[in-house]
Structure formats: structure tokens, C-alpha cells
Symmetry: C3
Subunit: 371 residues, 3 copies
């Protein structure tokens, strides 16, 4: 399945899509004011760039060994989403920022995992994956979500801490980043399996190989990988700005509210599309890696994106930004975590479980339609 | 334990009870206005008819094979409850309708399952059942409950969707019925165990045999089974109307509120009594089938009764009916699901776990006493 | 590790600390009004006395056999905390009472268990314990917490039961004590392992031995054990009163609010310090006993301390005391239970899981800082 070419057919398609959509998005941004078209094209370019960032990180990782790959992937894997969130915050779209954070978690845990279970289950019947890994990931996701929920609960439940949400959000952010930092030694210790430490956050090397196989990766020399990552990163930064610029007029034209736009559209374009590889892995009957890929991303969003945005908010002109999500976003977050625990804790999946996950996603998304 | 007679002693007792209580309920309905007596007798008749419907469906299923039994049982097993809910809605007793839906789930998950664990545990010590089946059922229950909770959360958490609850309830109902429809192929595939699909909703054939043994079923010819089902169905329709007619004056006389009446009394008469067979199966040390019987019913209530009532509401003169349950009903529902997951996920039960379940049921029911 | 001396070195240190801190606390109480110093010394004395009560109960248990130990430990193990809560209630510090109950559960489930996992994980890598025992304890904790949450939910969710919280709290207390009473036969049946009943509440005899080993217990004659228990109990009663007397002025001086004082400081001094033995057991690679010791205490707090205080409230001049906890305390309680379930259900622990637990504890505690 893998080839020794530098660029596989799939690579070439991806790079072509990136170039075409990025140029088109740029042209539309500077030349026109067709809001909806601008928005759709920039969204497509963003999703393509997110895939290319992921591909470059994997390629770079292959040259640096598994430990570095884990750290790189943890640090850079959600780069495009981080850009979108940062530009949204700078544009004052606070509701978009918060709902995108929740939506990235929800989309992976319910929609992408559900689709992966359906595709895998229809092709291969009941599939089994490592229950231990599933438990680790679902535990981390639940703890991250509960910690993330503390500022919102504090505000929604009218505790005396009302009025101190910014300080509490900063504190919670520091706690989350500390947890993330503590997970890195486990990543570095990955090469010594006897160490007994398994990182619940960073991908394991076997998973890299499986992803490579699923994605028919070629072997990129280190210089190419770094260049591609830099180009994709810069591209993602530009396209994110265009995407956010088109977001507000587009949702007015389309009659969508900011929360729904963030929860569903931005979350899928910025984060979830990249994880489509999880569906491919399930179709290839590699449920272990599929579950790891799909569930790692929401853990990273909760443990790194949310706190970085909170801490960096003053630099983006949003000094009062807090992690106080609306009660319904908190409910969506807690439901996602609960369901993730239930479906992966037993180490088995069926297509019907996948249907139930997608059904939950649709019901929650529908609840945010009006605004 | 099984006999080759058409009617076993147990059948004859059941049919006698059905005839006597139904006639008495009818006489009281048309001849008297002794509200409480009417209500009690109609409740007893309803519980007896619910058992007879269940018995007839099983008998018919024996003639049609396991797949059809599963579908029949899924479609008709909660018929009497559906009638009661429909007549309650027609009578404008919206609170009774909502609390009956929640109460049916709660009564099975906490009261009946708790009593089954106590009876089984006292007789046989710790009992083990298939953890996989327990996980499937508890996953389905949780997903169904979470989807069902979406309209209520939307309303309780003051989201912008306030005012659109009817549309959202219809949407959620369609999603739940779609999930139910998707579970039917799994039921049909049951005959091919290598298919790898296990229906989380419909009973499996072995369970039918065990229930038959527990209930000392005779073999009913198909004509008799169809006739009995039709008679029991028609009877249930009439008695449901009488029961609902007596409900409102009776609760005024007794000083109970509508929510408590629905949550505890109507739910037990209309749904839970039928599942007493689950307690019998536990006493016979067949915990696999017991857990299946007791937990299937609440899943069906959430996935079929709730959406059918919502969609049919305009036909019953309640065009504005929504699935917006009161926050405390939602809390009761979520607690039931959480506890169901915890007690069945490990595939073991003890009498003390049963006591804890019954204790939770009592505490929740007590919270609804005042109104 | 164990010795045949009456007093081990550790015993002598503990008794010395008890005498010195108790005398100092008494002197400060009667002679000075240095609020903060009084409070700190009384808190230290209380923690030391709690350890001595635990030590005496264990010593007495060794003379009475395992069943009696279980019952004694269940009944007297949380004696010092009961005194503090009773004196707080008498002093009208209702918020302290409620937050101490929640804090005792939270501190054990998140802070102490987290520290135990970190210490154990750093020394021994991944540790495995009986998943079955973990499941039993987490199930009991969840059920106890859910039952305890019913009065608060009733009030917070504006049900018609508002205004009846005292009656509902009494009812819930009776239910919890009944559950506790039902757990005693299981304790007594412990000597007959074939009985199949495992008490989810009282310690098992092997655990006593392990605790003895961890704590380098000497063998105390029965008279000494009874005398020591009586002395420690009386001491705890006095010191509790002094501690509560110093509490209110101290928190004014320190600028802490009552809820935070109860949730963090009182809970750790009165209950959690005693469970430090759980951390020692984990360091000795006896995770089975460690998890049992750490999780039993919160179950006992929920099932005995909370209802006893509620029922005894009229004797303490707080006839209107209810179990209506503030919504954020309920959220903290539910999060603790959920996390306890997740971390112990799989029967494994790592140091990183421990870090995540401590992180959750810090985030929740921080949310109560302002008041």
C-alpha cells in the first residue's frame, strides 16, 4: 500500500486541492464581496490545509522518531484550528470561539467516531480495539471536559465566584497546560515500552505507521517536510483570516447564528475533516488506530487550544475572554464525554452504535439551529 | 417446566383475571362515580391486559420465528402503555404523559431491576450475566435518554431555541424512530449469528424460551394467538380510556399530583408490572434474560413511545405537545440511565446492589410527592 | 514490618503529637484570642486525633475479629468529622457543615486518591487492583451521591417540592441509614467467604492486615485499645469544639469564605488526613487496600454522617437543617463520583491519572475561593 515515491497520488491531489482552494479563497477575499462563496471556498481551503499540516507533521515525525512525532503532533496538529479561533477572537466573535471549541470535541466524539463505526461495522461486522487505550482516552477526555466546565458551572450556578470568571479561567488554563506538559514525559518514554507509561494524549508510533498506510504516504525528505509544514502553516494563517472575515457576512446572509456556525461549520472545517483518516482506518479494519486518532484530537483541543486561547486573549484584544461557555454548550460537552466513555470503554464497536452516535450529534446540532 | 397444553394453569389465571377486572372496570366506568375504586380496578385490569398482550405476542412469535418475534415484541410490547399515554394526552393531562414516559424508564431501571437483584441475590448469591449485552443495553438506554433530553435541556437552559420546542421535539422524534428502524435489520439478522450484529433493542430467541419457561407457557395455535392479541389490544384500548377517565378525579380525591401519579402509579400499572417476569427469571437464576427483559422496555419507551406520542399529538388535540420535560424529570431520567450503566456494565449483581437501586427509586419518587 | 511490641515507634510519635497539639489547642482556646494560630493548632490536633481514633478502632478490631472490626470501623471511623460537623451546626455555620460533607468526599476521591496514584505510579509504574472491588465501591459512591443529591436537585430545579426540603431531607436520611444497616449483614457474613456477599462499605480483614503492616502497628491489649479509643474520642470532641470556635474568627482574618473553609480546610483536617494511609499503601504497592481505604471513607460520609447530622439537627438547635446543597456543591459531588467511577472501574492506575485527579481537585477548589 505504501510507496517509495516522494509524492503519492494522494499527496499530489491534496497539494493541488490546497493550492487551488487557497488561491481561489485569496482571490475571492481581495477581489469580491460574495460572502457565501468566499466563506465556502475559504472553508474548503482551510480543511485542505489542515490535512496538509497533518500530513507534514507525520512526514517530519518519520524523520525524527516516534517520541518527537508525538510531541510535534500534539503541538502542531491543531494549528489551523488555533488560527481560526485566534482570528475569530480578534474579530470579536466570542460566541464563535466558544462554540468552535465545543464543536471540535463534539464533532470528533459523535460525528466522526459515529461515521467510523458505521463504515467499519458495515464492512467488517463488530470490531474490537484495545479497551485499555479506549479507557485511557475516555478518562482523559472526561477529566479535561470536567476541568474545562468549572468556570462555566461557576457562572451558570450563580456561585459567589461570579465576577471572577476571568481569573478562574486563567487558573484553569494553567492547570490544563500543566497537565499537558506532564503528559509529555510519557510521550518521550514511549520508546521504552517497559516504562509502563502510556501517553493518553500523543499518538503512538504504530499508529503513525497505520495512518501512513491508510493515507498511502510517500517518504518526504526532512527539508521537504519542514518546508511543506511551514508553507501549510503560513497558508493556514492567511486562509483562517479570510475564512473569519467571510464568516460574519456569510452567516447573516445564510441566516445562521454564530453559535451554530462555530459548533458545526467552523468545527468541521477546522478540525474534524482532518480526522477523516479515522474513518479510513476503520474501513481498513484498524480500529485501534482509528479510535486513537479520532479521540486524541478532542483531548488536545480541551487541554491545549482552550487554555492557549484564554491566556493569549489579551494579545488579541479580548482581555476579558473567559471559558464561561453557555449552559447548553456545557451540556453538549458533558454529553459528548459521557458517550465517548460508554462507546469506547468496552473496546468494541458496531455500525448500530455508530448510528446512535450520529443521531446524538444531529439532535444536539439541531438544538443550536435557532439563535 | 413447559407443558404441551394450550393453556397452562398460569394462562388460565391470567385470562380469568383479565376478564374479571376488565368487566369490573367497565361496569364501574359506566355505572358509578366512585373515582378511587374505578381507578384502582381499571389499573389492575390494565396491568393484567399488559401481561396478556405480552403473552400473546410471545405466543404469536413462537409461530413466526425469532426475527418476527423480535419485531412484534418491539412494536406491540408497549401497546397498553401507548394507549394510556394517548388517552391521557387527549384528556389534556400533559404532565401525566411526560411523567409516565419518565416513570416507565425509571421504574424498570431502578425498581424492577432492583427487586430482581434482591430476589436473585437472596436466593443465589452473586449472579453473573453477559457483560456485553449489559453494555449494549445500557449504551442504548443512555443514548436514547440523552437524545430525549435535548428538547428539555434546550428549554431549561434558556437557549435561543426557546419557542421552537415543538419543531425540535418533532425533529428529535424523527431521529429516534430512525434509530429504531435501523435496529430492525439487526433483529432480522439475528437468525444468522455469524452476522455479528446484535440488536440492542429486540429480545433474542433464547430469551423467549427462557421467558416461556419462567412463565410456564403453553403452545398457542397461531389463530388463538392472533385472536388473543386482538382481544387484549382492544381490551387495553377500552380499559386505558376508563383508567384515564378515573385518573383525574381519583388523584384529586387522593390528594396526589399529576406528575407523581404518572411517574409512579401509571408507569407501574401500564409498563412495569409486565416486567415482573424479569424478577421471576432472576429467581430462576437466569440473569441474562432477566436483565434483557427489564432493560429492553425502557429503551423501547424512549425510542418508540415518546416519539410516536409526539408525532401523533396533533391527532389527539394536543398540537403543541413537546418533549420538554421538567428539569427534575430530566434529572430523574439521567440518574436512571447512569445507574443502569453502572450496575449492568460489569455483568454482576448482588442483593445489596438491588437494595441501593430500590433506595434510589424511593428517594426520587419522594421528591415528586409534593405538587 | 509488624512488631510484637505494644507501642511501635510510629504509635509513640502519633500519641506524642496528639498530646502536644491537644494541650496546645486547649491552652490557646482558653488563654488567647489569636484566631489564626488557634485554628491551625486545633486543626493539627484534630487531624492527629482522627488518626488515633482510626488506630484505636483497628487495634480494638484485631481483638474482636474481622466482622466486628468492619462494623466498628464503619461506625466510629469518621467520629472526629462527625464532632466537627455537629459543633459547626450548633454554631450556626450551616454552610461549613454542607461544604465539609462535600469536601470530605471530594478530598478523598480526587486529592488523596490522586496523590496515591502519583506516589504509587512513580515508584511502581502502572498498578493493578481488583476491578471488582473498584466497581463495587464506585457504584456505592455514585448511588450514595445521587440519593444525597435528590433534596438539592428538588430545590435547585424549582420543583413543587420547594418548601418541603426538610421533610424530604429526613426521608432521604432514613433511606441512607437503611442502606447502611443493610450493608452490615454483608459485613458480618465476611467471615464466610463462600457467602458471596461482599460488603461495599466496611473494610475487609486482609485490608486490616495490610493497613497494620503499612502503619507498623503494635498489638494493643483490648483494655488499652478501648481506653485509647475513649480518650481519643473525648479529645476529639473537645478539640472539635475549639476548632469550630476558632474557625469563624480565623476565616474572617484570613479572608476565606465559609464554603471554601469547609470544602478544603475542615474536610482535609477532619477526614482526609486520616486517609494518608492510602497513599502509604500505594507506595508499598498494595493498590487493592489503598483504593479500598481511600474510597470507603467518602461512601461512609455520604451514607452515615450526612443523614445522622440531618436527623440530629433539631437537637443541635438547627431544626430547619436540610440536605439542600448549593448547585455548585452538587456539581462538585457529581463530578467526584463520575471521576471515581472512571478511574477505578478498570482496576488500573498510573501516575498521570493521579495528576489529572489532583488537577480536577485544584480546579474545583479554586471555583469556591471567592465568596
Amino acid at each position: 500500500m505504501t510507496t517509495t515515491q516522494v509524492f503519492t497520488r494522494r499527496d499530489l491531489i491534496l497539494i493541488s486541492v490546497v493550492i487551488v482552494t487557497t488561491l481561489a479563497a485569496g482571490a475571492l477575499h481581495y477581489a469580491t464581496d460574495t460572502e457565501v462563496l468566499n466563506f465556502v471556498v475559504a472553508g474548503a481551503a482551510l480543511a485542505a490545509l489542515a490535512s496538509l499540516v497533518g500530513r507534514s507533521v507525520d512526514a517530519l515525525g518519520e524523520r525524527l522518531g516516534p517520541a518527537a512525532t508525538g510531541i510535534l503532533q500534539s503541538a502542531l496538529g491543531n494549528l489551523p484550528e488555533l488560527f481560526v479561533i485566534a482570528f475569530s477572537l480578534k474579530a470579536g466573535l466570542t460566541d464563535v470561539v466558544k462554540s468552535t471549541i465545543v464543536g471540535s470535541i463534539l464533532a470528533n466524539v459523535a460525528l466522526i467516531l459515529g461515521l467510523a463505526f458505521i463504515v467499519g461495522g458495515v464492512k467488517h461486522g463488530k470490531q474490537k480495539f484495545s479497551a485499555e487505550q479506549g479507557r485511557n482516552l475516555s478518562l482523559m477526555l472526561t477529566l479535561a471536559v470536567l476541568i474545562l466546565a468549572v468556570p462555566a458551572l461557576t457562572s451558570a450556578l450563580h456561585t459567589p465566584a461570579e465576577g471572577h470568571e476571568r481569573t478562574l479561567s486563567v487558573l484553569v488554563s494553567v492547570i490544563m497546560l500543566a497537565l499537558f506538559a506532564l503528559s509529555l514525559p510519557a510521550t518521550l518514554a514511549r520508546r521504552h515500552p517497559e516504562g509502563g507509561h502510556t501517553s493518553p494524549i500523543a499518538r503512538d508510533p504504530g499508529s503513525e505507521a497505520a495512518i501512513k498506510a491508510a493515507a498511502s504516504h510517500g517518504e518526504w525528505p526532512m527539508g521537504l517536510a519542514i518546508g511543506m509544514l511551514a508553507a501549510a502553516g503560513v497558508g493556514a494563517a492567511f486562509v483562517s483570516e479570510w475564512f473569519v472575515a467571510a464568516l460574519q457576512p456569510a452567516i447573516v446572509t445564510l441566516g445562521i447564528n454564530e453559535t451554530f456556525a462555530g459548533l458545526v461549520i467552523v468545527a468541521i472545517a477546522g478540525n474534524a475533516v482532518e480526522n477523516v483518516v479515522g474513518i479510513q482506518l476503520m474501513a481498513r479494519n484498524q480500529p485501534d488506530y482509528a479510535v486513537q486518532v479520532v479521540l486524541q484530537s478532542p483531548v488536545q483541543v480541551a487541554l491545549t487550544i482552550a487554555p492557549i486561547v484564554t491566556l493569549a486573549a489579551p494579545l488579541l484584544g479580548a482581555a476579558s475572554f473567559t471559558l464561561v461557555l453557555s449552559p447548553m454548550l456545557i451540556a453538549a460537552l458533558l454529553m459528548s464525554a459521557l458517550v465517548a466513555v460508554l462507546v469506547v470503554y468496552d473496546g468494541e464497536s458496531t455500525w448500530f452504535e455508530g448510528c446512535a452516535l450520529v443521531a446524538l450529534y444531529c439532535a444536539i446540532a439541531a438544538a443550536f439551529w435557532w439563535g
